[in-house]
Symmetry: C2
């Protein structure tokens, strides 16, 4: 496992620190296999189950990661993706040998389509992108890396979609016996995790929300994730769409880092709620870098209306 994974890339930039008025270290998963942290969990799951065929719903990065993990392990997978997924993500799944099923999410949820496929293929394993103890263990490898790296910080900020990443971080720091404040960064438009924390139980959005952070469009965090999040997360910052975009632009201009919109969430959280992070040395997890060139050009030119 450890030999397959790429260590996260730690980046510091004087210009980024000056722009934010904070001391920041980036933990970038954009150079992980298949360009996002999702490979950690995908490989962990695919290598630990006996099944040869896997089915999963994914807004893209988990699908890509699972397809590549299955190729490395000689297994097969089918990925159910929303019809409006970033083109690069659909192409990448196919390039890695995965089969793609596109679904119009206004008519049928991805979950419904996964269940139909599972009925057709009873020998297959249905893999969740986040709500699975194996996924949390896979993502915990990042928490362990951060807990044992040679950088010092007071807190970690990570994007929240289904909750797989942040619950993995919590688990990883626990396994390393390191106390750490962990903050979530969630799109304001799809703030089900923040609402869940306030309510004290899982709150689901009625539909998947059209946030630009396409890795955080899931309508609800998972139950395995919630068990860790409710106790382990300090708070969740809700980031407006324009601030997510500003985060992506700042990573480009001040740190030379290409991030996808979901990857801009953690920096967006620092911009949206500076008072929360004052005086703290912050580690921001940049979850992935897979973004269409056209969308990225729009972000750089500030052409997106929010």
């Amino acid at each position: 496992m450890k030999e397959i994974l790429r260590p996260t890339t730690l980046i510091e930039s004087a210009r980024l620190n000056a722009a934010l008025g904070l001391d920041v270290v980036l933990a970038s998963e954009t150079f992980q296999h298949t360009g996002s942290f999702k490979f950690r969990a995908a490989y962990f799951v695919a290598s630990r189950i006996p099944q040869q065929i896997l089915i999963a719903a994914s807004s893209g990065n988990f699908g890509q990661a699972l397809a590549y993990a299955c190729r490395l392990l000689g297994k097969q997978c089918t990925i159910v993706m929303p019809q409006d997924s970033a083109r690069v993500k659909v192409d990448a799944v196919r390039e890695h040998g995965g089969r793609v099923e596109l679904v119009d999410t206004r008519r049928k949820t991805r979950k419904e389509r996964v269940m139909e496929l599972a009925a057709e293929m009873p020998e297959a394993y249905v893999a969740s992108a986040y709500d699975d103890p194996l996924v949390i263990d896979g993502n915990a490898t990042l928490g362990i890396e951060l807990a044992t790296c040679n950088k010092r910080f007071d807190c970690v900020v990570a994007p929240v979609g289904g909750g797989g990443l942040i619950s993995g971080l919590i688990a990883g720091f626990r396994q390393s016996d390191v106390k750490m404040r962990i903050f979530g960064a969630e799109p304001l438009l799809g703030n089900d995790a923040a609402r869940s924390l306030r309510a004290g139980h899982i709150v689901a959005s009625e539909t998947e929300v059209p946030t630009i952070a396409d890795g955080a469009r899931t309508s609800s965090i998972g139950t395995s994730n919630w068990a860790l999040i409710r106790e382990g997360v300090t708070s969740i910052v809700e980031v407006p769409e324009k601030t997510i975009i500003e985060g992506v632009r700042l990573l480009f201009s001040a740190a030379n880092l290409k991030a996808e919109p979901t990857g801009g969430l953690a920096i967006g959280a620092l911009l949206a709620a500076p008072e929360v992070f004052r005086e703290l040395k912050v580690c921001c997890v940049i979850s992935g870098g897979n973004v269409d060139p056209e969308l990225y050009a729009q972000i750089l030119r500030e052409e997106i209306k929010t």
Copy 2:
């Protein structure tokens, strides 16, 4: 010295390898202090001379690096830059506390302006961005890193402008007692180094050429560099403008790496002369990442006419 420098970032990507049909490892200097390899030499020079004031000509990255190195060391510098330098590079020099002198290179060379300033400030050290044994020693730190890293490759491909980077690589591999084939990647539009290798002596272009690779606009390699290049470089690949741009786009789409045009030269060389690299495992040096968002958006949208 070693504690100040950031180690180069080694990146591998299955998609990049598939696109190139080659086994490639990227050595990215885009996350070095100030976003390019130039900081290695700048800090080396500024920390080893007794003078408190430095003057240098720079298309941008060396200026930025020298300004930041001088700030860290409590020294001062003036950077002479072409009027059409990338805006981000001019801003960055100023942000790091450097003084900028813009010069219209159609009327006066940067060198002439540097000489005028040197006459006005006799106590200052005139720093060359490439033609100086201290610069070569500074850049040699990258060669040493590559010679002693845990990746295996058969050759290194690096951009050639003034020749400071590639001569430093040659010096670094020599100091490490590691034999390595080293290829240059130079814009076809400004191919003075390739012509020099063919002629057996330094050939200079009459003016600075308007290649998109603004780090390689220098009209001639330096004499200290030439001494190493003539013996240590296997060959220099001349890369057309459109192939430089293709290299930048490929790094974006297949490796999630933001590179400036000069940083796209090494991948451009693989695209321009695949027959040279067939069957070789290649290490490509990505020299820097500082590029204006507007120019980068044009590159992503293929809007640039060459």
